[in-house]
Symmetry: C2
Subunit: 374 residues, 2 copies
C-alpha cells in the first residue's frame, strides 16, 4: 500500500505533515537546467541516473530538457519507469538470475532497454533469455576503471567479452560502461580529477583495442555528480550518467572545487521536513525523523538555516538536535528542514515528493520506483 | 505502488528473486512462542512493538498467542494496522502537530488507541483534538528513565503532567511509559541489568508519588528484547514492549548473556536473500544488496553459514563479500542469506515478507506499514 500524501496542493509549506520529502522546485529546476546546458555545450549526451530520484515524472523533466533517456540500477526500477512512460532505459548494472533475465527481455519488447555485463557466462544467459522472448538486447561491457566493484578488467578481457556479445545472435554490443564510483566523493579537486584521468586512460585504451578488433562503441557511459566536468573533452566518454545533481546532499556538499571552496555547482533542492516532537530540556530537542526517514550512511543531515544546531543520535524514528549553542532556537511543534546526508537512500524511504514554491505546495509526485529492489 | 512479490507460494526457497526478505517460519514461530510463554509465566502483559515487523499479520500471530495488542511508533503505523484488523494499539511515542492529532483522535473511534505525552502544551492539544472528535484518549506519561531522548523527568514533573491529563475532560490518565532504549544494546549483562535497575528505581518512585496523588497506573510499559528479563518481578513494569525478538539481528546478537556467552535467547529468523551479481576476481564478489536493501546503521550483515566471508563496502545497490579466506566459496549467481545488522530499518525497505519452511515458500505477507512515517 502506498502511503497517503502528507499534504494537499495549495497547502502552506509549513502545514505539510512530517516527516516529508520536500523539493524546492525553483532550486530543482535550476539544477536540471544547469546540467542539461552543460551537456549540450560540451557536446555529450546526458542520461541521468534515476536511482537518485526513482521518479517517472522527474525522468520526463530531464528528457524534456534533452536527456536521451535514463539509467536504472535494477530491472524493477526500469519496469516501473517504462510502465510510467519512460521509453529509453539503460540498466547501468549487471543483471543475473533466471527471473531477472526473463523480466529484462520481456521489458525490451516495450521500450529501448540496454544492460551491462562483466562476465562471459552472464552474456550467454543474456543471449538465451533474449532469444526466448525474441528481442535483441543492447549490451555494454562494464569495465572496472578504479572503483573495485563490478566490471571486467579493461583492455584484452573487455575486448574478449565484447567479441562474445557481438557474436551472440540476440545481443548487440553497444559500448562501454566506465563509471568510477569511488571517485565521486574524493574531497580534493585535484585528486578527484586525477582518479578520472586514470579512468580515462583505461577507457581510451579499451576503446582503441576494441576498434582494432573492429568493434565500435556507440556509447561510452560514466560520470557522476562529483566528476561530471572531468569527463568532457577526453574523447573517452560520450554519455554522462549523473544523478544526484538534481537534489544534492551534504555528502556531495563536502567535495571541494578547484579553488578549495565547497562544491556549490548545484543547489540543495531536497529536504526532509521534520517536527520537534519532544523538548524536555533546554539542551536538546527530538525530531520525528530517524533512520527510517533519512539515509544516514554518508553522515547525518544538516539543519537548513540553523548551522549551529547539530543532528545526532538517530534511532529508528527519532533524531536529536543539539541546542547547546542556541538554546532558544526551537520549541515543541516547530518544523525544520533537514538536508539529507545522502539523497538516494533517503528518497527510497518515501512514497511522495512534495514540491514547494513560494511557500506553497505546488506538486505531489509519486516516487515511482520506491522500493524497487529486484 | 506496492512492488510485486519476489516469489510465488510453493517456489523452492532458492528460486526467490533477490534481494528479498525471508522469514524462517520455524525459527520465527519459536521466537513468538518463547516470548509469549515468558510473559505468561512472569504474569505480565505482552504488547509487542510493531515498529519491528510493521505487519498486521504478525501482530495477529502475536495476539493469538496472548499479546494484549501492539505498540506503534507513528500514527500512520497505527492507522495501517487498525485498517487491517488490529484493534488495540499504543503509540509509545509523542504525537505533535495538528494533522497528527486529528488523525489520532479519528482513529480512536475505530480502535482502542493510547498515546504518550511528555509536555503540558501537548496534553492541552491532545485534549482539544479528542474533544473535537468526541472521543476519550488514553494517555501515558512518558518518563525519561535514562535514555535521554523523549520523556519528562520522573517524580514530581511526571506527577504534575499526570494530574493535568487526569483533569482533562477528553483524556484518561492510564499510566507510565518507562522505556530505557539506550540500555538495549549494552553488551555486558551486568551493566545492562544495572541500567534497568536504575530505571526501575525512577519508575517505582514515580508510581508511588502518583499513588500519593491518588493516581493509579493501569499500565507501566517498557522493556525491549535486550532487557526483557530484567523487568520481571520488579513490581514496576506490567507490560512488556519487546519487538526485535521476533526476528533478531546481528546487533542484538552481540549482547552477552550472564555467563558471557553470546545472546541466543531468540533465533535469527529474518534474512535478506541476495545474489552474487558480479565476480571478476577471486578476492571478492559483489551481491545485489546495499543500503537500499539493508539497515546498516548498527553494523553490516553477517552471511549465514559463511562466517569467514565478510560483507563490506555497501553502496546503494551493491555490497562486497570478501572471499580472501575462502576463495572458492561463491560463484556468479549463487545466493546467500544475510543476517541484517538491524532488523527494524531493514524491514521498512521491503513490501513483502517471504515465509519459508522446509525449503519452500509457504507465505507471502505484506509489510503493512512499510514507509508509514507520519
Amino acid at each position: 500500500m502506498r502511503q497517503p500524501a502528507p499534504a494537499r496542493i495549495g497547502d502552506a509549506a509549513e502545514d505539510v505533515d512530517t516527516p516529508a520529502l520536500l523539493i524546492d522546485l525553483d532550486a530543482f529546476e535550476r539544477n536540471l537546467d544547469k546540467m542539461a546546458a552543460f551537456a549540450k555545450d560540451a557536446g555529450v549526451r546526458l542520461r541521468p541516473h534515476s536511482k537518485t530520484h526513482k521518479s517517472a515524472h522527474i525522468a520526463r523533466l530531464q528528457m524534456e530538457r534533452g536527456a536521451v533517456g535514463v539509467c536504472c540500477q535494477k530491472v524493477s526500477e526500469a519496469e516501473a519507469l517504462v510502465q510510467s512512460g519512460i521509453n529509453d532505459v539503460l540498466i547501468s548494472n549487471e543483471v543475473v538470475g533466471r527471473h531477472k533475465l526473463n523480466r529484462l527481455s520481456a521489458l525490451a519488447r516495450h521500450a529501448k532497454v540496454a544492460v551491462c555485463a562483466d562476465d562471459a557466462d552472464n552474456v550467454i544467459d543474456l543471449n538465451a533469455a533474449a532469444g526466448q522472448v525474441g528481442v535483441t538486447l543492447d549490451v555494454l561491457v562494464e569495465i572496472d576503471v578504479g572503483a573495485g566493484r563490478c566490471g571486467i578488467a579493461p583492455g584484452a578481457p573487455a575486448v574478449d567479452l565484447a567479441k562474445l556479445i557481438d557474436g551472440s545472435r540476440n545481443l548487440r554490443f553497444s559500448g562501454l560502461q566506465a563509471y568510477q564510483g569511488s571517485a565521486q566523493h574524493i574531497r580534493d579537486f585535484a585528486e578527484r580529477k586525477m582518479a578520472i584521468n586514470a579512468a580515462q586512460v583505461l577507457t581510451k585504451q579499451t576503446i582503441e583495442q576494441l576498434a582494432e578488433a573492429g568493434l565500435d562503441c556507440e556509447t561510452i557511459g560514466g560520470a557522476g555528480t562529483g566528476t561530471y566536468e572531468f569527463h568532457i573533452g577526453s574523447k573517452a566518454w560520450n554519455e554522462l550518467q549523473c544523478g544526484s545533481y538534481v537534489f544534492m546532499d551534504t555528502d556531495y556538499g563536502k567535495n571541494r572545487m578547484a579553488d578549495g571552496s565547497m562544491f556549490t555547482e548545484f543547489e540543495n533542492a531536497l529536504f526532509v521536513l521534520a517536527t520537534v516532537m519532544s523538548k524536555t530540556t533546554d539542551d536538546f530537542c527530538v525530531v520525528d525523523a530517524g533512520h527510517k526517514a533519512l539515509g544516514n550512511d554518508q553522515g547525518f543531515p544538516r539543519v537548513l538555516d540553523l548551522d549551529e544546531v547539530a543532528y545526532s543520535h538517530p534511532s529508528d524514528e527519532h533524531g536529536r538536535l543539539d541546542l547547546s549553542e542556541t538554546k532558544q532556537a526551537l520549541k515543541l511543534g516547530d518544523k525544520v528542514k533537514l538536508i539529507p546526508g545522502h539523497c538516494d537512500p533517503t528518497v527510497n524511504l518515501y512514497d511522495w515528493y512534495v514540491g514547494v514554491r513560494n511557500g506553497r505546495v505546488e506538486a505531489l509526485w509519486q516516487v515511482t520506483a520506491r522500493g524497487a529492489l529486484t
